[in-house]
Amino acid sequence: MANKFFGKAMKRVEDPRFITGTGNYTDDMSLPGMAEAAMVRSPYAHAHIKKIDASRALTYPGVLAVITGQEMKDAGINGIPTGWLHPGIKTPPHYAITIDKARHVGDIVAAVIAESRQIAEDAAQLVEVDYEPLPAVALGSDALKPGAPAVHDDVPDNVCFTWSIGDKAAVDAAFASAYKTVKLNLRNNRLVPNAMEPRASLAQYLKASDEYTLWTTSQNPHIHRLLIAAFIMGIPEHKLRVIAPDVGGGFGSKIYQYPEEIIVLYAAKKLNRPVKWTARRSESFVTDSHGRDHETVAEMAVDQNGKITAVRVDTIANMGAYLTTFAPAVPTYLYGCLLAGTYTTPHIYCHVTAPFTHTTPVDAYRGAGRPEATYLLERLVDVMAHELGMDPVEFRRKNLIPPDAFPYQTPVALQYDSGNYEANLDKALEMVGYQDLRRQQAELRKQGRYIGIGAITFIEACGLAPSALVGSLGAQAGQWESALVRVMPTGKVEVFTGTHSHGQGHETAFAQVVADELQIPVEDVVLVHGDTGRMPYGWGSYGSRSAPTGLSAIVLATRKITDKAKKIAAHLLEASPDDIVHEDGKFMVKGVPDKAKTFFDIALMAHLAHNYPADLEPGLEATHFYDPKNFVYPFGTHIAVVEVDPDTGKVKLLRYLSVDDCGPVINPLIADGQVHGGIAQGLGQALLEEAVYDKEGQILSGNFLEYTLPRADDMVQIEHDHTVTPCPHNPLGIKGIGEAGTIASTAAVANAVMDALRPFGIVHLDMPYTPEKVWRAIHGSRLAQAAD
């Protein structure tokens, strides 16, 4: 079958509404009689709530209700559960509105519902809360110290869980007999996802039918419905419809079940009016789940041939004050299992301790565990290469998993499906002109300029996920995906998917694939997503799963349509279904091209069923539930070139090049866009972004005046290409591409900066490489040199 649309850089069908301002985001909606909510949030990281006096707020004109945690608990509303459990994990309750204590800055203490947002905000200031501030702890390692203040009374040591993977004895033995070892103490900086659309939720309750509708900024509306129905509110699942309309970016932060969604649903029923809440950005900073925040000791051992023999990792992963939906999975299976990277390391051991702290919860943020793993591994590789006196690229090459080793079983559970790492690396090196670059670097160093090159290879496991496997690892959910393909009598096609597009362009890319499968015009296909009332069950979009998992379900459902269409065609053409071929948009008898039926003919007859096979059901639609056999394993090489200004410590990005392999690319425009954006976010972590907490648990970088998001002038035009190594276990051979840029670029930029600082004898600095940090490192080393 010739692909007409697959692989084509088609303009997105989503865009006309966005470029004309007619998108429909949650906060754009308003319903008749709608009330609005404002939250009263704790200004303390840790405090007893001794008393809440809402009397002044309640008398403010236009205030409809002030809701407390106790009221909701008394009404039978439960806490918000986590969706992933480890053996021995502590899961203290997480109420939408906290009852006894505030456990992080921004924890909701009360909710004000009023006629308008202005009034709700005015009245929120009038709710008098008597706090007794308590000592707080913000850093994971501090929370583990004896005598640290407990975040939850029933977890006095703050240990949420511990977890490990790998053969510790074998790793220790490898270290004992190593030719060389290196060790790094690393801090993986805490990040705030900052999708440009702040979260918003609008709830409606219909008394007559006892039905709820929740419009919310979600990457996975079915997960919200399940959690709310089965665990939190006890609403019968069929009485709750969750709709995620246009969503302005997610990056993980819109996966989770958030308190405000519960509050507006509760308030909508209580007041019998629609209720909307929209976050201000400064609320987003303290309530959207954060990302990363690891403290790690990472070690690597090599033999005298320069082969990596072992990697040993011990990590403290800060969970924040509560567990959100996927939090326990992120610093464990999405992290420890990735520590083989692209290398043949035979022995790996990873131990993780996950404490609670008085900070905003930490969960998956773009890449989720895999950027942390890639960063530490690629830092170790560069430091080790330097120890060995080898070019870091050649050290990598020596250790890459060879192409004939696939499927490749790592020592940390994963079996990589396919890969061709060295060819990918070579392509990137050639594109960037690696040897010339190294020569230029040496030249410029003589002129007092400090250029750094960071060239890294990476692997990721995505396309979540084989359900039985993740179930055995602690997931409280399946990770298959569904599709419903519905052909209308006129041959137009609706495709319903359980994945959700919030910037990824599924409406375009998925339609391209379906149009090719059915050999129809691409504009005859429409994708429907983000509404539990319209599509079959699904698990949403995260973990780069939409194309490898969601689209696989769509393709297999579409093939059921084609099979049925052949039977109808055979009947109409008085031939055997086995003799029907589907070519050039027609169903025809093999070898008799003038005996043919169009897709329209078939679709119409499937619905009229006037002249129809006796043993065939009328109608033309198919559902498929696809459970992948394995993760998919995209990979690539990313190269960053930076210059450090030794006078100010400022790092400037000079070039960025990536060669990614996500298998066959459906739409290069979209896939490349995903890579560009991912790279910017990873660069943000390396150079600019950090959620900084003080010892009292106050966030010091809690708005855009202090927290640096990459801007246009922080970036350069990205040089980008692909290699294509198909996935062997899904119908299209495709791998995910949504997170690759972020997973790779933090490590590439970090290594580039450290490479630039090598002449100063600096081996390691923690991210972000802010000007003062870099200047101090240089300054310190210059002072040390002067003293020598």
Binding site: Q118, S282, S701, E706, P771, E772
Partner: protein, 278 residues
């Protein structure tokens, strides 16, 4: 994202604004709004009334009066950036303004609003000091002129008195003077962590820094070291060392006192090198 309630009064003349100020003693003057409105949105400020002077015609525009440039207080950054008079007679200002905020901020923000607000990290105060500007204020008791050197008195505080309105900025035209502004922006807010403006008029050097301390200030040590000296790379490098002691400087997430002090040296050097065409 709402401010507290306030009464809105639009002034059409300076006289009207002065009289409104008398009637509403805890009112704030609204100029470009880019400092005041964000503070009000976070409810860190809640004035009972705003007196909008942004459209007072007599407060807008740049004109030349003999050897002086007169800038109306409500002249926007964008107008400064594109003013041919300034480009010809005071290129320092367009250059410095180009580094302020972003185009939307420059469309609304005004020179008078910025100077009166006296944010310690604002860009223009350094240029005012380096240029030897005079700041004209009008109050219930008449008009007075304040030397830039006397104008900035503290963090968010100036020599303006209650009931006074900053109306004009007078800048002496120094034909042939070399001038430049070098800024190290805050990575997130893009305010000045440190910004140094220099004006070299013959053998006379005037230099001032913003962002470093409680308010913008002259760099006396630098001026003394370089005045009368040829602007060579070596002289500049020698002069730009230890200009300010860290002790009294600002400190925040972006820069400690020590680092700020160092940045003052670096930015001073860069401004001088640029001014000297080196």
């Amino acid at each position: 994202m709402y401010t507290s309630e306030f009464a809105y009064k639009k002034a059409n003349s300076v006289a009207e604004a002065l009289s409104l100020l008398q009637q509403h003693p805890d009112a704030k003057l609204l100029a470009g709004g880019h400092s005041l409105i964000p503070t009000m949105k976070l409810r860190l400020a809640a004035p009972s009334a705003l007196i909008d002077i942004s459209k007072v015609a007599e407060l807008r525009g740049v004109r030349k009066e003999n050897d002086t440039l007169v800038i109306g207080a409500m002249t926007t950054y964008h107008e400064l950036e594109t003013s041919n008079l300034l480009k010809a007679h005071c290129p320092l200002l367009p250059q410095a303004v180009y580094l302020i905020g972003d185009p939307m901020v420059r469309a609304k923000g005004t020179i008078g609003g910025s100077l009166a607000h006296a944010d310690p990290a604002a860009d223009l105060p350094a240029s005012m000091l380096a240029l030897g500007a005079k700041i004209k204020a009008q109050g219930p008791n008449g008009t007075r002129v304040i030397e830039a050197d006397d104008f900035f008195t503290g963090m968010f505080s100036t020599a303006l008195q209650e009931g006074e309105i900053l109306t004009e900025i007078h800048i002496p035209i120094l034909e042939g003077a070399k001038m430049a502004y070098a800024k190290f922006p805050h990575p997130a807010s893009r305010y000045a962590v440190v910004g140094v403006a220099v004006v070299v008029d013959g053998g006379n050097v005037r230099a001032a820094v913003t962002g470093a301390g409680e308010h913008a200030m002259r760099l006396g040590k630098l001026e003394q070291a370089l005045s009368g000296q040829p602007l060579t790379t070596a002289n500049i490098a020698a002069a730009c060392q230890g200009l300010l002691s860290p002790g009294n400087l600002n400190h925040d997430l972006a820069a400690s006192r020590e680092y700020r002090a160092h940045l003052v040296d670096v930015m001073a050097k860069r401004a001088l090198m640029q001014a000297a065409g080196l």
